[in-house]
């Protein structure tokens, strides 16, 4: 059966050049980067090159501002817990948004249990954080603002440059979860006045199990991983050098080809959007329609349930996600969809399509064709649809 993967935001397959770099590292640079001998130092050299590549790509002032982690979740946890614990003398208030990834939200909730206070900013119907809300939420004891660069479900890009400016002016640290943004929009930690930024390799066709955090020089932060003296004593654990090398390669590819990738994502996504808008009725496009990730299309289909839709598409070989890929398995709409204030008939029928480098126009055509019959079938058994037609 034909297989169409439209869930690139959940995870992307490893790029072949990246895979080759990982393979080479496994063979030639298998040493422990903390070892003083040649085999260790060779591994370290490769790791430092990857650090340099990533630092330049995000315009860090120094390579040593990039710390490798095991992924976006670890980076988010580290940023929030590490800053909270290191800065608690100054205050115990954190500002975030209602539509952050669970890695941010649940880390914030954990800090609430530890005696911190957290403000969860609401969002506009298009998913944007309002600057006025942010300004109003800032208090004397606010130590951290953590707002994602772009949302993983609905694709909305937040005004992080403005947020960074406000935070810096008020002497508050600013963390942004850029896990979904990386590779799809420009990220410049200096211009955007970002103090901490989370990224993850597997979302940019790199290996799984590797991420990084940018930490502006001079930022005091408690460790999340205590142990050996790795990563300038800030993140313990034997370095995953092959993974790190792969992450470096993935970012190098972004540096070289990002415009091409983004143009392709946009073209595919827009084609999918246009066909859905033209050929299906009673659909809503979620998220901001201009300030959004180029690869993301989030659609609510009235009168049908998302998981049924997902499984029906899956039976046709089409892989998408509903709600959040990370919190699926629960019946409730995701916290992101809930925050948008959708009409109840649309609330549970949300599907996220995310296109990628391998997506073709044929994939989209196939998807829309099947989507139409799947929606028709599910609506034909939906009492909500029937009632809407009768009234």
């Amino acid at each position: 059966m034909k297989e169409v993967y439209l869930d690139y935001a959940a995870t992307a397959p490893i790029d072949l050049d990246v895979k080759q770099a990982v393979d080479e590292a496994n063979e030639k640079y298998f040493g422990n980067a903390s070892s003083l001998h040649t085999i260790g130092q060779r591994a370290k050299g490769q790791m430092e090159q990857a650090r340099e590549t990533i630092a330049r790509y995000i315009n860090a002032a120094e390579a040593n501002e990039v710390y490798f982690t095991s992924g976006g979740t670890e980076s988010d946890n580290w940023a929030i817990k590490g800053i909270a614990l290191a800065q608690m003398e100054k205050g115990k208030h954190i500002i975030t948004s209602a539509i952050e990834h669970h890695a941010v939200l649940h880390a914030c909730e954990f800090m609430e249990k530890m005696g911190f206070e957290v403000t969860y900013l609401p969002v506009a119907r298009d998913g944007s954080v309002r600057i006025a809300d942010l300004k109003a939420a800032i208090r004397e004891d606010t130590i951290l603002i953590t707002i994602m660069a772009a949302n993983n479900e609905i694709g909305t890009i937040q005004p992080i440059k403005e947020i960074g400016e406000i935070a810096r002016k008020r002497g508050i640290l600013f963390h942004t979860d850029a896990v979904q943004a990386l590779g799809s929009m420009p990220l410049d930690v200096q211009a955007m006045q970002i103090d901490l930024m989370s990224i993850s390799a597997h979302k940019v066709y790199g290996p799984k199990g590797v991420g990084a955090m940018y930490i502006k020089k001079g930022t005091e932060i408690e460790n999340l991983m205590h142990g050996g003296a790795h990563e300038l004593r800030r993140r313990a654990g034997t370095n995953n050098v092959p993974g790190i090398v792969g992450f470096g390669k993935a970012v190098e590819l972004l540096k070289q080809n990002e415009a091409v990738y983004v143009a392709h994502y946009t073209q595919m996504r827009d084609y999918l959007r246009d066909r859905i808008e033209n050929e299906l009725d009673e659909v809503i496009l979620n998220g901001h329609q201009e300030k959004r990730l180029p690869n993301n299309l989030n659609v609510s289909f009235a009168y049908v349930e998302g998981e049924a839709l997902l499984l029906s598409l899956d039976m046709e070989g089409i892989c998408v996600s509903t709600g959040s890929a990370c919190s699926s398995g629960s019946l409730k709409p995701s916290h992101v969809i809930e925050a948008l204030g959708l009409d109840e008939n649309y609330l549970h029928g949300t599907v996220r399509f995310t296109v990628g480098r391998q997506t073709t126009k044929e994939d989209i055509d196939y998807t829309v064709d099947r989507l139409k019959s799947v929606i028709a079938r599910l609506r034909s058994m939906s009492p909500l649809y029937k009632d809407s037609k009768n009234s």
Binding site: V304, A308, G329, P333, E344
Partner: protein, 123 residues
């Protein structure tokens, strides 16, 4: 989702979908806000369920449960139908994931609502 083959089959090709115009028993449970809703239509003659149909908005488990329940109902006496429990639906489906048990409960409730409707009409 860890759905059984049987659930997938019934989800893929559910039995007894639709509005039963000649129903003399009708029950509905759930709401769009909850994320699932079922309508149950029964035609009862001489104390026996002759025909059963459903309309369901919900996940695969909800649809499959409705399909299996309507299959089971056909030919049952009212007393038997009253005694239909969600466990029987689950068994018939070859099991349901923990998180999906409530879907079979919704269907059980819809059957009960339809039978109550029937009794109310008889008075």
């Amino acid at each position: 989702m860890d759905y059984s083959e049987k659930v997938i089959q019934h989800f893929r090709e559910p039995h007894n979908v639709g509005v039963l115009e000649e129903a003399n028993a009708f029950g509905k449970v759930g709401s769009p806000a909850c994320g699932d809703k079922t309508e149950m239509y029964l035609k009862i003659e001489d104390g026996i369920i002759k025909e059963a149909k459903f309309m369901t908005f919900g996940c695969a488990a909800a649809i499959a449960s409705s399909s299996v329940a309507t299959d089971l109902l056909k030919g049952m006496t009212i007393e038997e139908a009253k005694a239909l429990k969600n466990e029987q639906v689950i068994k018939e489906l070859g099991g349901l994931p923990e998180a999906k048990i409530h879907c079979s409960v919704m269907v059980e409730e819809a059957v009960r609502a339809a039978l109550e409707d029937y009794e109310a009409r008889q008075k």
